[in-house]
């Protein structure tokens, strides 16, 4: 459903992705792990064309989306929960969610709003509060809720557990699993928390220096000696 072929991405002179091939199939949860600076966030953002792949192709539903503007990609059913959440801090919680529904027709919003509020009751209680006044965990929920408002078929999540207390991390992972199972949303998840991520995902990719260095079933990766040494032991 989503596939990247030989994707190269540059940040000015920095060659951040050096020929990435990967694919995500319908209904899957796929995770991408790797050290800081490996290029994980760049990869996730380049799926949405920000930044655009300098070489290589990104295919979505059989369509070449490499050169589409970001908003067109989003309108084809991909949603992004970016690194650092990037909620609109001067807008209210409700407005953040409404903005998330931009890809939809006007009449469809109410139902989605209720669905997101059911998933995150705190957002409902705080809907008139400015986004910037939310706690870190609430902001993460808002970022996920905002992404869900557009009824995506593929949800891209960049380190949703970053900076959250262990109990909240657990909760976020449960919610991701529920979104995948109940709402039939395919998930592509970048995580520092490799152990949690691999337990949740069906498959995983390991990235280093802008390349995919390992790929496989989550179970196999969890058992892999190199993966254990680099990302699991001492880092759980």
């Amino acid at each position: 459903m989503l596939s990247l072929a030989h994707v190269h991405v540059y940040h000015g002179p920095i060659h951040a992705l050096r020929g990435v091939d990967l694919s995500v199939e319908m209904g899957e949860i796929v995770t991408l792990i790797g050290a800081n600076g490996a290029g994980k966030s760049t990869l996730l953002m380049s799926i949405c064309g920000a930044p655009r792949a300098g070489r290589g192709r990104v295919l979505w539903d059989g369509e070449d989306i490499t050169d589409l503007p970001s908003f067109e990609i989003i309108r084809r059913g991909i949603a992004q929960v970016p690194e650092g959440r990037r909620i609109f801090s001067r807008m209210s919680v409700l407005e953040n969610l409404l903005v998330g529904a931009t890809p939809l027709e006007d009449g469809q919003r109410e139902e989605d709003l209720q669905r997101v509020f059911a998933l995150f009751p705190t957002l409902k209680d705080r809907q008139h509060q400015r986004g910037g006044t939310l706690s870190g965990g609430e902001q993460q929920m808002l970022a996920i809720g905002r992404a869900l408002m557009g009824r995506p078929r593929l949800l891209l999540l960049d380190e949703p557990s970053l900076g959250l207390a262990p109990r909240l991390v657990q909760r976020i992972f449960e919610i991701i699993e529920a979104i995948n199972r109940e709402q039939n949303v395919t998930v592509f998840l970048v995580e520092q928390n490799a152990y949690h991520a691999l337990r949740l995902a069906h498959r995983g990719y390991v990235m280093a220096n802008g390349r995919i260095v390992l790929a496989g079933e989550s179970k196999a990766l969890l058992a892999n000696r190199e993966v254990r040494a680099a990302y699991l032991e001492g880092g759980v």
Binding site: S70, I74, P82, R86, F88, S89, R90, M91, V99, A147
Partner: protein, 304 residues
Amino acid sequence: MGYFLQQLINGVTLGMIYGLVAIGYTMVYGILGMINFAHGEIYMIGAFISILGFILVGLAGITAVPLALIIVLTATMIFTAAYGWSVERVAYRPLRQAPRLAPLISAIGMSIFLQNYVQLSQGAQVKTLPPFIEGGVVLLRDADFAVRISYVQLLIWLLTLVLMAGFAWIIGRTALGRAQRACAEDRVMASLVGINVDRTISLTFVLGAALAAVAGTMVTLYYGVVDFFIGFLAGIKAFTAAVLGGIGSLPGAMLGGLILGLVEAFWSAYFTTEYKDVAAFTILVLVLIFRPTGLLGRPEVEKV
């Protein structure tokens, strides 16, 4: 007392015109973080189009004032908005990824171009319009001084209030307004929720130009004269108003406009008309030195 009241009325009228132009500056700044130096010229073009409109409507034999007014206002807004849109397309969009200085320079170039373009196509003399709406009401008589509000002034007040209400609604309550505010905060993220950022920026220029068009029409009605140079001075004054109110803030732009209009009216009434333009510049300098965030602006965190 009567004299004072009269100056108050004149000042508020002037202030509303500045405020409408100032909104264009503040909106573009809000979304791009840049000053649109061609905006004063857009206002000047609006004034010219409206004068042309009044002449044409007169030639067409439309004498009913409200009808003529609606036709001229609508046409002026549409044509001026097209200019605003073009300024964005030509001077700003191609330079979206360029260093910040580049679009500033191209906007100044655009401003000079528009001035010359109007001068060449309309001639360098002042254009005049015979009084279109005459009369007014006397509010009170104080000794031998009659405080008067003219119908044109009343129209300006009414129109400004309606436009402000409409604007507050667009920015605060509609999808377009939310998209504008989202772009102002984080353009990349706005595109990642599916907002067409380029289109939103275009619409911002269009809206700002439409307001400037109304201001231009009002000036035509109020003073009855227009020349190709008014954009420069009005531009600087409206810009001052935007900075005074807090650049990026819509209520601030209106407040700044009002203050500036009042200062100017009282300055010319009690001191001398000669230096009334200096008042605006003095305010600009003082605000930039002592309170760069303006009256209603929030402290800048990330933008220059």
